[in-house]
């Protein structure tokens, strides 16, 4: 069977959930080989093997993490050349999409971003994406070169399928040209103890209606073990960090449950959450467009509804 290259998604060697999702999907196309660029391949090996990696290409190039995107693209291009994979799967986040973009040009291959499903079709690898703020579903295929597919987090339920996961150290040369944009400083974000927005099964978001007080939103999120999101209005007002913004210019999330509190539901926001499985909204304005999307809506003040719901959730969870 042909190899399928899967770029691991990790922070300083610690794997993110998306990696297991990519490996699960890759098994539909061939034999997954994980490509781990950076430190921690040995530690990651067990997890990678568990989710179906036959091989783990370990590229511990000290330069790779110090430069933006280009070295990873070069390393992947060398591996594509070497193993002629059936496809390359990459996490559909900012860096992953850019790595894929450069890889596409380098290898003369078509690329697809934001795939929510990947499968072997009659005409090769087929993908599904949501477009135009989630109002359309598109099926697409790559017609030239090695299909390079960026897969959105939370698109597949992970399934274990243990394989050997043999680690192969790879010496990959990174050119000087790829070392043009240097990361000179990196300040880690303060850990909140909450799940990552794009990975979370439940997301609770606040908007203009919070008036800047995210307390009730955070407390409700914590009662559910949820991630906290924010609308663009709330981020633009400086009430919550941009990295938590849900919407067209922020994160696109697709959790099992999405709760919008004090968010009107402009197209900008819908683009980031419309594909969530179950949607709940709390808003004072019964005319708010967000209510067109909901499975359950409460017309009311989030400052009384959310604390009551938080108490009730805690009570029921015991």
């Amino acid at each position: 069977m042909t190899e399928v290259l899967v770029l691991t998604d990790h922070a300083g060697g610690k794997l993110r959930k998306a990696t297991a999702e990519l490996l699960t999907l890759a098994r539909r196309l061939g034999e997954p080989s994980a490509v781990h660029i950076g430190p921690g391949a040995e530690a990651a090996q067990k997890t990678l093997a568990k989710y179906g990696a036959h091989k783990v290409y370990a590229v511990d190039d000290p330069d790779a993490p110090s430069y933006l995107v280009a070295p990873q693209a070069e390393i992947l291009a060398q591996l594509v050349e070497k193993v002629s994979p059936a496809a390359v799967l990459v996490p559909s986040n900012a860096a992953g999409k850019e790595i894929a973009a450069r890889l596409a040009i380098k290898t003369g291959s078509g690329m697809i971003t934001d795939a929510v499903d990947v499968r072997a079709g009659d005409a090769g690898v087929e993908t599904t994406q949501s477009v135009f703020a989630g109002s359309y579903t598109v099926t697409a295929t790559v017609t030239t070169g090695t299909p390079i597919i960026c897969v959105k987090p939370n698109s597949a339920s992970i399934e274990a399928a243990p394989e050997a996961g043999t680690v192969e150290a790879v010496e990959a040369g990174v050119s000087d040209a790829a070392k043009a944009a240097k990361v000179t400083d990196s300040q880690p974000k303060k850990a909140t103890g909450r799940p990552e927005l794009t990975e979370a099964a439940i997301v609770v978001s606040g908007g203009r209606g919070t008036g800047g007080d995210f307390g009730p939103v955070e407390e409700f999120a914590d009662s559910l073990g949820a991630a906290v999101g924010a609308s663009r209005a709330a981020v633009d007002a400086g009430w919550y960090p941009h990295s938590n913004q849900v919407g067209q210019t922020g994160k696109q999330v697709s959790p099992q449950l999405y709760v919008a509190a004090g968010i009107s539901g402009a197209i900008q926001h819908r683009a980031g959450m419309q594909t969530s499985k179950t949607i709940i909204a709390v808003n004072k304005d019964e005319e708010a467009p967000i209510f067109e999307l909901v499975d359950f809506g409460v017309v009311g003040d989030l400052f009384s509804v959310l604390p009551q719901a938080t108490g009730e959730v805690k009570k029921r969870k015991g």
């Binding site: 933006l68 995107v69 280009a70 986040n93 900012a94 860096a95 999409k97 850019e98 790595i99 973009a101 596409a104 040009i105 380098k106 078509g110 690329m111 934001d114 005409a123 087929e126 949501s130 135009f132 703020a133 989630g134 109002s135 359309y136 579903t137 598109v138 099926t139 697409a140 790559v142 017609t143 070169g145 043009a180 944009a181 990361v183 000179t184 990196s186 880690p188 974000k189 927005l197 559910l224 990295s243 210019t249 449950l257 179950t278 949607i279 709940i280 709390v282 019964e286 909901v294 499975d295 359950f296 809506g297 409460v298 017309v299 009384s304 509804v305 009551q308 719901a309 009730e312 969870k317």
Partner: protein, 263 residues
């Protein structure tokens, strides 16, 4: 410093966006278009740099059908100095790979082969792939400095802040470079009346693929390395249950979560 800003003319997100039945490409005729909102930040940033330096010109480059001239017009009204419109029927249906090829060649021609600084938005508001800046950097052999939420242009170098999910990074590169900016970087200006009047006299050149030396066989729908097999309108979500809070809204919300097995 002379800056080239790449912009895109996109269907208005507030309207009903759809596809053309004949070839499954985005229907750019059925709805009104405009300068992609995310590109306004790149135009604004370029204007700020040139204004701070007191010299240099901002050239706006777009690739698109005749109507795409509106995107250039808006940028000129904001204060950009001149426009380049690459327009050729053969470009229709190009994917990001084809678009990045045309843009890269247009940037080269607009700068006699030696760009100083190329600015773009972080993504378009229609395709939202966010890959054209990386592809252009790869094609032009320029340092790729993307997702800038702050940009400082120094002597022969650029420094940005890039806010990722897990860290806020400082990234440096030497000039020439390609920088993409986020919507966090500035507050784009509205065209003034004076700006609108002045824009009418600003030069806009229209180039064909032949002018750029690009083979029409390398772009357009047939040359795309990806293909839309099918598209379907997502069924509208069924109207769910709406309750008005009468002191029990939170409890009823928790009750719903419970029946849906979230608790």
């Amino acid at each position: 410093m002379n800056i080239v800003v790449c912009v895109k003319y996109v269907p208005d997100a507030q309207s009903e966006r759809t596809f053309q039945e004949s070839d499954s490409t985005v229907d750019r005729e059925a709805v009104d278009g405009l300068l992609s909102e995310l590109d306004e930040y790149a135009v604004e940033e370029a204007l700020k740099i040139v204004e701070a330096q007191g010299d240099g010109e901002v050239t706006v480059v777009t690739v698109g059908p005749a109507a795409a001239a509106d995107a250039i017009k808006k940028a000129l009204q904001m204060g950009a100095h001149k426009g380049v419109h690459v327009q050729d029927d053969a470009i229709h249906g190009s994917d990001a790979v084809g678009t990045s090829l045309v843009l890269a060649e247009a940037v080269k021609k607009a700068t006699d082969g030696s760009p100083e600084l190329v600015l773009t938005g972080m993504a378009s508001t229609d395709g939202v792939m966010g890959v054209v800046p990386a592809m252009m950097a790869e094609r032009l052999g320029l340092p790729q400095v993307t997702y800038a939420s702050e940009l400082t242009v120094g002597d022969g170098s650029v420094t940005i802040r890039r806010d990722g999910d897990t860290a806020s990074e400082t990234v440096e590169a030497s000039l020439p470079a390609l920088v993409s900016v986020t919507d966090q970087i500035n507050e784009p200006r509205y065209p003034s009346f004076k700006g609108i009047m002045a824009a009418k006299k600003k030069p806009v050149e229209t180039w064909s693929l032949a002018d750029l030396g690009v083979d029409p066989a390398d772009v357009g729908l047939d040359a795309a390395w990806t293909r839309v097999v099918s598209y379907a309108k997502r069924p509208p979500r069924e109207q769910g249950q709406l309750v008005t809070d009468e002191g029990d809204g939170g409890t009823r919300l928790a009750e719903f979560l419970s029946t849906q097995k979230f608790l």
